[in-house]
């Protein structure tokens, strides 16, 4: 028996020029396939960032040629009391978000995760509802609730305790607090979903073992729930911090930065300089400073909370 050679007959070798073209095509094909991302990234990220940084060194009202003025915008920015106020307000919102919103979300998630809870889906829906509502509607409703003269909240206070003349939206301190209440109301339900997902992944045996060892609910919460939820908590904390540092909608729609500038945030400061005052160079400088702050805070918090660290 003779073995049969089943291999196809060898093709004649292509001419050298065609071979080179084919090799070049094979070499460039991967780059071609990944290029859309890089083109879009360059066009819509790098170029605007570069243009923003360049503009921050110019005086430009939007029309005509930007005039290069060196670091004058930055010098002016650090002497501008309004910018200082917006930094302080944003810091206040961020700290409040971390120390109020985060624990509140965890508490609600813990409650929703309780065994035997009836209407669980209804509660989830209720807590999640603020996230999908239009911010304009929310601001309108909050305006009605917290109006100093005709607001629902003052009416309730008046009915229950006999006082109700608080200027919620027109007193600097109360206005800031109402903005935080709005942030709390709007974002707590959203963050609760993350915590709930984390809680549902905690093995039941751990709790049962702790129960057998005589651990009470508080001990189990701090010794089992909190450590296991650490990655989720870290992710939520970093996200919340970075988002709140760029807060815009809540103070813009509720108080428009007022009274005076007592609820003005950094993002509102940038918007105001660019689109209400036509100082685009100055706005760009504020935007660059905001970017640096948010980036630094993000990196610090990632490091502090150990996000992405192998355990």
């Amino acid at each position: 028996m003779t073995a049969t050679d089943t291999r196809p007959a060898a093709r004649p070798a292509p001419p050298p020029a065609r071979r080179t073209r084919a090799r070049a095509r094979r070499q460039w094909a991967p780059y071609l396939f990944i290029s859309p991302f890089f083109i879009l990234f360059t066009l819509f990220m790098l170029v605007p960032i570069g243009a923003g940084i360049y503009l921050s060194f110019t005086d430009w009202a939007g029309l005509g040629t930007p005039e290069f003025i060196g670091t004058a915008n930055y010098t002016r920015l650090f002497q501008d009391e309004s910018f200082g106020a917006s930094l302080a307000n944003t810091g206040f919102y961020t700290v409040c978000a971390l120390i109020v919103v985060l624990p509140a979300s965890l508490m609600i998630a813990q409650a929703l995760n309780a065994r035997g809870l009836k209407l669980r889906d209804f509660f989830r829906l209720v807590y999640f509802m603020p996230v999908v509502l239009s911010p304009i509607i929310i601001a309108l409703i909050f305006g009605l609730i917290f109006d100093g003269e005709y607001g629902l909240f003052n009416a309730v206070l008046e009915a229950l305790f006999g006082f109700g003349g608080v200027s919620w939206l027109t007193d600097p301190l109360w206005a800031r607090i109402v903005v935080v209440v709005l942030v709390l109301w709007r974002w707590t339900g959203f963050l609760t979903i993350f915590f709930l997902a984390g809680l549902q992944n905690i093995p039941q045996e751990l709790n049962e073992a702790a129960l057998v060892d005589g651990a009470g609910p508080v001990r189990r919460f701090f010794s089992i729930t909190i450590p296991i939820l650490h990655p989720v908590t870290a992710f939520i904390a970093v996200t919340m911090l970075v988002n709140t540092a760029q807060i815009f909608e809540e103070p813009f729609l509720l108080t428009n930065g007022g009274p005076g500038e007592s609820t003005l945030s950094i993002s509102m400061f940038v918007y105001r300089a660019a689109f209400l005052r036509q100082e685009l160079g100055y706005a760009a400088a504020a935007g660059v400073v905001m970017f640096v702050i948010v980036f630094a805070l993000g990196r610090l918090s990632i490091s502090a909370f150990g996000v992405g660290r192998n355990r």
Partner: protein, 439 residues
């Protein structure tokens, strides 16, 4: 028919190139000026009232009859603040601009910076100059002595009051000075909790607008003709003191937003029985919030300050400008002149949206004098508006107005509440302005 991946990619690329090519041909703005014929104007405005007026005016023979152009107007609705932003970005990107743009009074100062108005808009001074003092309210849209937009509505401030409540409470409707009226208002507030005026304690724009309305009446102003700040004045102090006194005694109620729900509630429950506001507030404030009170309201001229000023003021407004160097620029100027600077156009404007004429002498003509207003108990309203127009204070805006609003808002609010005195508030606001205003 099947399409393979390569054909699909080619088709997509061709479609992209085709769209780009079409888009590049889309601009109708390039080319020599059109001297006659069909002029399809484009307009940007935030107010549907102007949209309907201009659309109808384009085919109204009384307004456009005899023109070398045949008009049509296509309107795009753009928010007042976005309109200026979009005009600038379109101009920078060399994309099509509207032929006519409705510029809200408070947004115009943005165009006073860096020659934006001069670069974008036609100088309308040749149209306004010939009318002299007959044409009112050109100053706020003037930059370096040139008028860049024509006001749509004088926005004449009067005092609207509830005639039935005034009668019940024994408040005379012809009190001559603020000082007298404030005394009466304090007594009414103490007796019934009702107020004869309001001030805003909401955002900076509303606070400063309310202050400016009083200030113009008193004879002061925020800026002079050269755009220099003039707010630190005796008139300003006097106005702030009056506002603070009104709030302290309850004669004035503090409301977040003169157009918002709290004001609606104050009007509905009869807590607010009088307010000084411009003519357009009757439509957008009173009729919108309390249609059931039709016939109960009246308008009178504002009481004077005993130390001076007038019986009149103004607040808000929207002016139309023509974008320069376009094919239809000449046609748009002609159309705007016919619509805005002729008696026929002004009368049509009043009937279209209750916009008050900007030609002063028209207030005395029978066409306007005979108009009665059912909401105001069939009052011959132009008797009141006419008297106000005779003393209408002129005022200028400055490029720094947006900064001034933010600088003054907080201190004025604190002065209104009596937390600081008027002089200190003004000084604080002006110093903040000087630190922030672009050089």
């Amino acid at each position: 028919m099947t399409i393979d991946r390569r054909q699909l990619l080619r088709l997509t690329a061709a479609a992209g190139l085709g769209t780009g090519a079409l888009a590049s041909c889309a601009s109708p703005t390039a080319g020599p000026p059109l001297r006659s014929g069909q002029a399809d104007l484009t307009m940007w405005t935030h107010d549907p009232g102007y949209a309907s007026f201009f659309t109808e005016a384009a085919t109204d023979a009384e307004i456009v009859g005899g023109s070398a152009w045949t008009y049509s107007v296509e309107v795009a609705s753009v928010a007042a603040d976005a309109l200026v932003t979009r005009m600038i970005t379109q101009a920078v990107a060399q994309r099509p601009l509207p032929t006519l743009a409705g510029l809200e009074l408070g947004q115009f100062p943005r165009m006073m910076r860096a020659d934006i108005a001069e670069n974008l808009l036609v100088d309308l001074t040749p149209l306004t100059e010939s009318l002299g003092d007959r044409l009112l309210k050109t100053q706020p849209y003037t930059v370096d002595g040139k008028v860049y937009a024509l006001e749509s509505d004088n926005s004449v401030s009067v005092m609207y009051y509830r005639a039935d409540e005034f009668e019940r409470l024994g408040i005379p409707d012809d009190v001559e000075t603020w000082e007298e009226l404030l005394d009466i208002g304090a007594q009414v507030a103490a007796d019934t909790g009702q107020s004869i005026g309001m001030v805003s304690d909401g955002d900076n724009t509303a606070i400063v607008q309310g202050f400016m309305q009083f200030l113009l009446q008193r004879g002061g102003g925020l800026f002079d003709a050269d755009g220099e700040l003039t707010v630190e004045s005796e008139e300003s102090v006097e106005v702030l003191e009056l506002m603070a006194e009104g709030v302290r005694t309850g004669a004035f109620v503090s409301l977040t937003d003169p157009y918002g729900s709290a004001t609606g509630a104050a009007l509905k429950d009869g807590r607010l029985i009088a307010t000084v506001m411009p003519n357009w507030y009757k439509v957008y404030g009173l009729e919108a919030n309390v249609p059931d009170q039709a016939g109960l309201w009246r308008a009178r001229n504002i009481p004077r300050f005993s130390s001076g000023g007038s019986i009149s003021s103004t607040m808000g407004g929207t002016a139309f400008g023509v974008v320069k160097d376009q094919v239809l620029t000449d046609a748009a100027v002609d159309f705007l002149e016919r619509s805005y600077l002729t008696p026929e156009g002004q009368l049509a404007r009043y009937w279209a949206g209750a916009y008050l004429p900007t030609l002063a002498d028209l207030y005395e003509t029978p066409e306007f004098q005979d108009i009665t207003d059912p909401y105001l108990g069939d009052q011959r309203i132009f008797e009141t508006y006419g008297a106000a127009v005779e003393e209408l204070p002129g005022f200028y805006q400055g490029a720094g107005l947006p900064v001034l609003r933010d600088s003054l808002g907080g201190p004025i609010l604190r002065a209104q509440r009596g937390e600081i005195d008027a002089e200190a508030a003004l000084e604080e606001g002006v110093r903040a302005y000087e630190r922030q205003a672009p050089r």
